[in-house]
């Protein structure tokens, strides 16, 4: 009932490119991948920059080839129906497939029944609505749904099912285990990994494929967020400036990070290399407001404290904090207060950074890709920097790393994820034994 969860595989699709190496190398270089949106015409939008995966169009043949290069033997059987049905217009499906295939191969898993019995727990964002599907049935100021049957539309119409990416990943890997979709907004990815670790710890599963994929880089996603006022109005690569005194909003990003998590003993027995261990996780709810975090950070601090307790660690054991760090006026100081509440004096000493300035806010996938950044910290002994953080804010009085990464070996990392409406998650990783 207390098996430890080891991460044995990592797959990433990020604004730096395809693959974990592109992601790690981008962070290691202190680079920025936020730039002008290319996948649709965003010139007229208030938000014209994003952390966009450098695939303006998801080409089915190219996707099949990329998946094949990652060892996926069922790529064509999975991708071709998605392409025929129009589902690949939802970019997060392709991102999830690529990340899952990479993680599976990285872990050295195969086609045996034991591997295929893996559970799948994915954090996913909103269903994507397809504006172009409505044109044939829009008439006289209304949508004529009853006119639709004869319209020349693809089988996936109007929107993708919320679990479409999970279904596709399940088929791609040929899994037979249970599938769960976590839709807890920006905390979904972290909660998916926490869920996986709990399944391992309880002995419910031996192997779990977990993580998250999301893309809101589409007209309704960017448009809806713009109307909400969340993105920075700046139309420049430094739109998102976490913890900086001048911060004025987030940059939207897209991508995926998927992990293979398995019982440490199983990984050892099959000779797999453990990259990190999931030591503890905690979740709480602010119970405060729909549109703002709890300013005192009390509930977020409780999530961090719970993660520490489950990991059996003291605050001083933490060597690095990957912050939620959205770069919005309200989030960053609330998160710093949470760190002070949870970590006490150590909050002023532990290095803190946010990678959202570099790649944007990946929404449902944010917690997952930020855990991947923690894996980099543990395996490369390199703490990612905070892109575009230059002017210290007295309201954010923690040790925020600047844009450059810092070489340092740490034993334990904390990753925070705070979702819409006050959904808090904290996950602690440890160096693999």
């Amino acid at each position: 009932m207390t098996a430890r969860a080891a991460i044995t595989g990592v797959g990433v699709v990020s604004p730096f490119g395809l693959g974990r190496d592109a992601f790690f190398d981008g962070l290691a270089a202190g680079a920025t991948a936020v730039g002008p949106i290319r996948s649709f015409d965003a010139d007229s939008f208030p938000t014209a920059v994003a952390g966009e995966v450098p695939l303006p169009v998801i080409d089915p043949d190219a996707l099949i080839a990329e998946l094949g290069a990652r060892g996926a033997t069922r790529a064509a059987a999975v991708v071709e129906p998605l392409a025929r049905g129009g589902a690949l217009r939802d970019r997060k499906i392709a991102f999830g497939l690529l990340a899952a295939a990479e993680a599976w191969r990285h872990a050295g898993l195969g086609d045996g029944a034991g591997d295929r019995a893996a559970h799948l727990v994915l954090g996913l964002g909103l269903e994507q609505a397809f504006l172009d599907d409505f044109a044939p049935i829009f008439a006289g100021g209304a949508i004529r749904w009853d006119a639709e049957p004869g319209a020349p539309l693809p089988p996936t119409r109007f929107r993708t099912p919320v679990d479409a990416c999970a279904r596709a990943c399940h088929r791609l890997l040929g899994l037979t285990g249970p599938t769960v979709v976590n839709a807890s907004a920006c905390a979904a990815g972290a909660l998916a990994v926490a869920h996986a670790a709990a399944l391992i710890a309880r002995g419910t599963a031996d192997v779990v494929v977990c993580g998250a994929s999301d893309s809101m880089v589409n007209p309704l996603g960017i448009g809806g967020m713009s109307r909400l006022g969340a993105p920075s109005p700046r139309r420049a690569p430094d739109a998102c400036r976490p913890f900086d005194r001048r911060r004025d909003g987030l940059a939207i990003g897209e991508g995926a990070a998927v992990f293979v998590v398995e019982a440490e003993g199983r990984a050892r027995a099959r000779g797999a290399r453990a990259l990190a261990t999931v030591l503890g996780a905690g979740s709480t709810q602010d119970a405060y407001r729909a549109t703002a975090p709890r300013p005192d950070g009390a509930a977020a601090a409780a999530a961090i404290a719970r993660a520490l307790a489950r990991a059996g660690l003291a605050p001083a054991d933490l060597g690095y904090v990957n912050a939620h760090g959205t770069g919005t006026p309200l989030n960053d100081p609330a998160e710093c207060r949470a760190l002070h509440r949870a970590l006490g004096d150590h909050a002023a000493r532990v290095p803190v950074s946010s990678i959202k300035g570099a790649i944007g806010h990946l929404m449902a996938a944010a917690g997952a890709i930020e855990l991947a950044a923690c894996v980099m910290a543990l395996t490369r002994d390199l703490l990612p920097g905070t892109a575009h953080h230059r002017e210290r804010d007295p309201d954010c009085d923690v040790d925020v790393l600047g844009p450059a990464p810092v070489a340092r070996a740490v034993a334990h990392t904390l990753s925070n994820s705070f979702g819409f409406g006050g959904q808090n998650a904290a996950v602690i990783l440890g160096r693999a034994s």
Binding site: A42, L131, D163, L191, G203, T284, F420
Partner: protein, 395 residues
């Protein structure tokens, strides 16, 4: 594999629901046992899907209307009602676990954005997207009802929102895990879904997953599931909430749940059988997924019979309530527990000539001394959720 077979139970302390057959649990059970069907003609005659099972009641007026859609409000209000009935206190030891079917967007909200769009998407913001309501995004976030509910009640413990066809079972399983880990003292589980949004009805009709009937055909004549002439399910909608506490406490029933068993490389029956096996608890009454297509139904019956024996009773509350998507598992937990407490198993509404096969299929309500039942819910393709409820001593 070293999977622990068998799921530890938790206790149901309170419940509430909103269904096409009403919101009072005892009254809903009475109507189920009377064989009532909630199906009514689809008021939009151009749809292939011929019948729907809607919730007639509208949600109470709420200050949250600007953030949450109709079904989210139904879910919140059922949850608040269930929590009040539990008599428990909110705070940092109360968790909230939610299940939603998906976006189910209210497309009418987007009409101003669609009106002047060009096919190539050029100038989309100026052509209408800039006119969408600032809260449009909030209204369509997957966890909006969850977040607002936590705030309304002051629930600050663990929480998560699950999505998809079997999200209800996932939310129940997630809540049970948190209770058993000791991180919370009580969990409020809320599930809501509607399959009656226009695009869903269009899709279900085109795939023939929904009963399409014919011109002027009365929905009450729709063939029931598990008949040779079954030709699709009736889309429905529901919201339901449970308050769960640790198994050591007394309550309305014991509950076990498993989430999302699946199998793409094998027959669906294998997924069903594995889900029942993972529950690790016996039951002689099954509430089937009842997809209402002969091949799917036959596979389900074979799998259920293999798992629990040929003599078990197979009913289908969805024949009366309609298919309820992500809300199914939570509604099943309530209706099955309430039926067992009453000592009566509801019939398969509309069942006239069941297909040959294993299991006893009730055409009328059946008195029972059974104390345990299993509810199955399936999505497309192959996802399975399963709940097991057990009451003390029967009627």
């Amino acid at each position: 594999m070293s999977h622990a077979v068998g799921i530890a139970p938790v206790t149901i302390a309170a419940w509430a629901l909103r269904t096409p057959l009403g919101r009072d649990v005892d009254r809903v059970i009475a109507r189920l046992c009377a064989g009532e069907r909630a199906a009514r003609p689809n008021p939009h005659p151009g749809y292939r899907c011929a019948a729907i099972a809607p919730i007639v009641e509208v949600p109470a007026a709420s200050r949250h209307e600007r953030y949450v859609s109709r079904m989210g409000l139904h879910g919140m209000q059922a949850a608040i009602e269930a929590f009040a009935a539990s008599g428990l206190a909110a705070g940092p030891r109360l968790g909230v676990f939610a299940a939603v079917g998906g976006l189910r967007a209210s497309w009418a909200d987007l009409l101003p954005a669609f009106r002047d769009q060009r096919d190539d998407g050029a100038g989309a913001w100026a052509r209408g997207l800039g006119a969408i309501h600032p809260f449009w995004m909030l209204r369509h976030l997957s966890n909006n009802a969850h977040a607002l509910l936590a705030g309304e009640l002051g629930a600050r413990g663990d929480g998560a929102t699950y999505a998809g066809a079997t999200a209800g079972a996932a939310a129940l399983a997630g809540a049970a895990r948190a209770l058993q880990a000791g991180s919370i003292d009580a969990a409020l589980v809320v599930a809501y879904d509607s399959l009656l949004e226009p695009e869903t009805l269009v899709e279900l009709g085109e795939r023939r997953a929904a009963w399409c009937g014919g011109p002027g055909v009365d929905p009450s004549a729709a063939p029931a599931p598990y008949q040779d002439d079954a030709a699709g399910a009736i889309p429905g909608e529901a919201a339901a909430a449970l308050v769960l506490v640790p198994a050591a406490r007394d309550g309305l029933a014991r509950l076990r749940a498993v989430d999302g068993a699946d199998g793409d490389r094998e027959p669906r029956a294998a997924s069903l059988a594995r889900a029942i096996a993972r529950l690790g608890a016996p039951a002689a009454v099954i509430d089937g997924a009842a997809r209402a297509w002969p091949d799917l139904d036959a596979a389900e019956r074979a799998a259920v019979a293999a798992a629990v024996g040929d003599d078990a009773m197979l009913t289908a509350t969805t024949a009366a309530l309609g298919q309820l998507g992500a809300a199914t598992a939570v509604v099943q937990a309530i209706t099955l527990a309430a039926a067992l407490r009453r000592g009566t198993i509801p019939p398969i509404a509309g069942l006239r000539a069941p297909s040959p096969g294993p299991l006893a299929l009730p055409a009328r309500a059946v008195a029972t001394r059974a104390t345990a039942a299993i509810g199955l819910s399936t999505g497309v393709p192959g996802l399975v959720g399963a709940v097991h409820v057990e009451v003390a001593g029967g009627p």
